[in-house]
């Protein structure tokens, strides 16, 4: 029957090609649109999870509610307390309560690939008469480099140059420009009302993100010293073996101490909702394309069945049964579907490879040519094949079943 199905298809080349094109375009569209969107999402996620830590363990500071202090002051003596003015501000801790316990826990957890204790202080950088406020991040550079990608963005110097301590700084490009400082120059850094301390600039980085580039890095001990808080750490940044564990781990860790534990995903809710809109849109589009292609196959097969009634009659008289006839037409749909899918996969793949060569985005150290990021995940191709073949199968089975139900006698009586 496959033999005859193929003969039918070859004799009606134009219709065959037209139906094949439907599946072909559907598959190509699926592969390239998915490649584009998933590539973009993957790129964004990579940016998020590679450039910064995947789990943040931070000293918890909550805003005070108007009645948070009621019980401390009045216990349960009175039902209602009216404040003028109402209590405001934050409560909580300025540092991670027992960093040592966290270190032990993180060291023991096989899902953790690295972690870095950090003290971030809001500092004032002074050079001559210029003074700029920016975050000063104290860290152990060897550990920090394993957790975030800042070391990859160094323009001058090495990130580890601050590791020896001794009041050295690495400045972001933006901050550098605002102060108007050059390499090896000394700037005065002060935190709060504390006395200014001289720091020497030994490196410079640029990530392309202005907020990040308006920061400075120093050794953890140095920053603790200018902040007059020896041993204090207000964040532990954690990198995981698999970033997808972040949500789960963050949730379980947040029960272990007073700290606020957040995953990269918690901090990027807006991006995640953009992703889910994209995904919905993508599936909507692809479903539409496949429904259209499916209708094409359905129509043409229906037409073929009615054109081939005589053939069906004589085949039945030869001893071919219902199943053979169903297969004769189902096979035609499926052959078109499978070939359309294969061509679509190849063409979609080539198109994706082409898109990859287009310089579209802003160049950055991790993406020097500014190429588009296109996903070539085998899962996309698997999903496209499944959807395409499934929709052709559904579209083919109905006319094929109708063909199987035709009885030879009625057709022959009509004189063919």
């Amino acid at each position: 029957m496959i033999f005859l199905a193929i003969r039918y298809l070859l004799e009606r080349r134009r219709q065959t090609v037209l139906t094949l094109l439907g599946v072909f375009f559907g598959t190509t569209a699926f592969v390239s649109v998915s490649g584009f969107f998933l590539g973009f999402q993957g790129y964004m996620v990579q940016q998020l999870v590679n450039n910064s830590a995947q789990v943040h363990i931070e000293a918890r500071q909550d805003y005070l509610g108007p009645h948070d202090l009621d019980s401390s002051f009045f216990a349960s003596d009175v039902g209602h307390v009216f404040w003028t003015p109402q209590p405001a501000g934050v409560k909580g801790y300025l540092g991670v309560q027992s960093p040592e316990a966290w270190y032990r826990r993180l060291d023991a957890d096989p899902r953790v690939s690295a972690y870095s204790p950090i003290l971030t202080a809001a500092a004032l950088f002074n050079l001559g008469s210029v003074s700029v406020a920016a975050n000063l991040i104290g860290c152990n550079p060897a550990q920090q480099a394993k957790v975030t990608s800042v070391a990859n963005y160094m323009i001058t110097g090495r990130f580890t140059d601050i590791s020896t301590g001794g009041n050295r700084l690495i400045l972001g490009d933006e901050l550098m420009k605002r102060i108007g400082a050059g390499m090896q120059q000394t700037v005065l850094v002060s935190v709060g009302r504390n006395e200014a301390v001289p720091f020497k600039i030994v490196g410079r980085f640029s990530t392309g993100s202005r907020g990040v580039d308006l920061q400075a890095y120093g050794a953890l001990a140095d920053v603790q010293k200018v902040n007059f808080t020896p041993n204090r750490v207000n964040e532990i940044a954690v990198r995981l073996q698999d970033y997808r564990d972040a949500d789960l781990l963050a949730r379980s860790w947040s029960r272990l101490g007073p700290e606020r534990v957040e995953s990269w995903g918690d901090l990027s809710q807006n991006i995640k909702s953009v992703f889910s809109i994209q995904t919905t849109l993508r599936y909507f589009m692809i479903t539409t394309v496949f429904i259209v292609a499916g209708f094409g196959i359905y129509n043409i097969l229906n037409m073929t069945v009615s054109q081939k009634r005589q053939d069906i009659a004589i085949l039945r008289a030869m001893g071919y049964d219902t199943f053979d006839i169903v297969m004769l037409f189902f096979a035609q749909g499926l052959i078109v579907g499978v070939f359309g899918t294969l061509f679509g996969l190849v063409c979609g793949y080539l198109f994706c490879r082409y898109l990859q060569t287009i310089s579209f985005m802003q160049a950055s150290p991790s993406n020097p040519e500014g190429h588009l990021h296109i996903a070539l995940d085998p899962f996309i191709y698997l999903q496209a094949s499944f959807l395409a073949v499934f929709s052709t199968a559904v579209a083919s089975i109905l006319p094929a079943r109708a063909a199987g139900k035709l009885t030879p006698i009625d057709i022959i009586r009509q004189g063919g």
């Binding site: 005859l4 053939d311 049964d321 030879p408 006698i409």
Partner: protein
């Protein structure tokens, strides 16, 4: 053995209109029988019932001792494929296949291509189509097309050959050729041939002529030749 019909009747539709009633006949193995009668008498209806293509509303039909009305679908299709050949007024050749591919079509059902190929070529040669085996139906004359259709009916070397006005759309010369092929099948190869025809001359070429009038079998002329 052969074909046995016992009190066969056939009605169509509702309210039922009776087309055949109370037909009992026996066709022996190797017999050549013609069915005649006026248009609308029920000849085709009877032929289709005797050949398993249609079911009787009453009575039973036995072929080779098997009650075909009780046969399961699988056995029925196997039986049709292996034991029966059909020729109709129109040739029903598949336009997408060459003459020889059309002839070979029944052999594909149970993968008997290699086994049957020599016989198919033999038939083509016998019917004067050797040079035209690879032509498509549209490249053949009406007579040639009908001969291809007969070759297709004979390729499985069936026991039974059913023909419904096989000469109906042919000119006199081509009709004559077809008739001699059918006679040959019965006389030389011992095939059981049941043929519906309008032509009284052709009807007389059969060993036995059965006339149907208003769904009843009235004349059964036997023992010619």
């Amino acid at each position: 053995m052969g074909i046995v019909a016992k009190k066969v009747g056939k009605s169509f539709g509702s309210p039922a209109s009776r087309v055949l009633s109370d037909i009992s006949l026996e066709i022996a193995d190797g017999e050549f029988v013609s069915l005649t009668g006026r248009s609308g008498a029920g000849k085709s209806t009877l032929l289709y019932i005797l050949s398993t293509l249609d079911d009787p509303t009453e009575g039973i039909v036995e072929i080779s001792g098997l009650n075909i009305t009780k046969m399961n679908s699988e056995d029925l299709h196997h039986f049709r494929n292996q034991k029966m050949g059909f020729v109709f007024q129109f040739n029903y050749l598949i336009a997408e296949l060459t003459a020889i591919q059309n002839v070979m079509m029944p052999t594909l059902k149970f993968q008997e291509q290699t086994k049957r190929r020599p016989h198919a070529e033999e038939l083509m040669e016998k019917f004067g189509l050797k040079e035209k085996m690879d032509r498509y139906p549209r490249q053949l004359s009406g007579g040639e097309q009908q001969r291809v259709a007969i070759a297709r009916a004979l390729v499985m070397e069936p026991h039974y050959l059913f023909a419904d006005e096989p000469t109906g759309s042919l000119d006199a010369a081509n009709a004559q050729t077809v008739m001699s092929i059918l006679t040959d099948c019965s006389v030389k190869q011992g095939m059981t041939v049941v043929m519906v025809t309008h032509d009284s001359g052709f009807a007389k070429m059969a060993q036995r002529e059965i006339e149907i009038v208003d769904g009843k079998m009235i004349v059964d002329v036997e023992g010619k030749k």
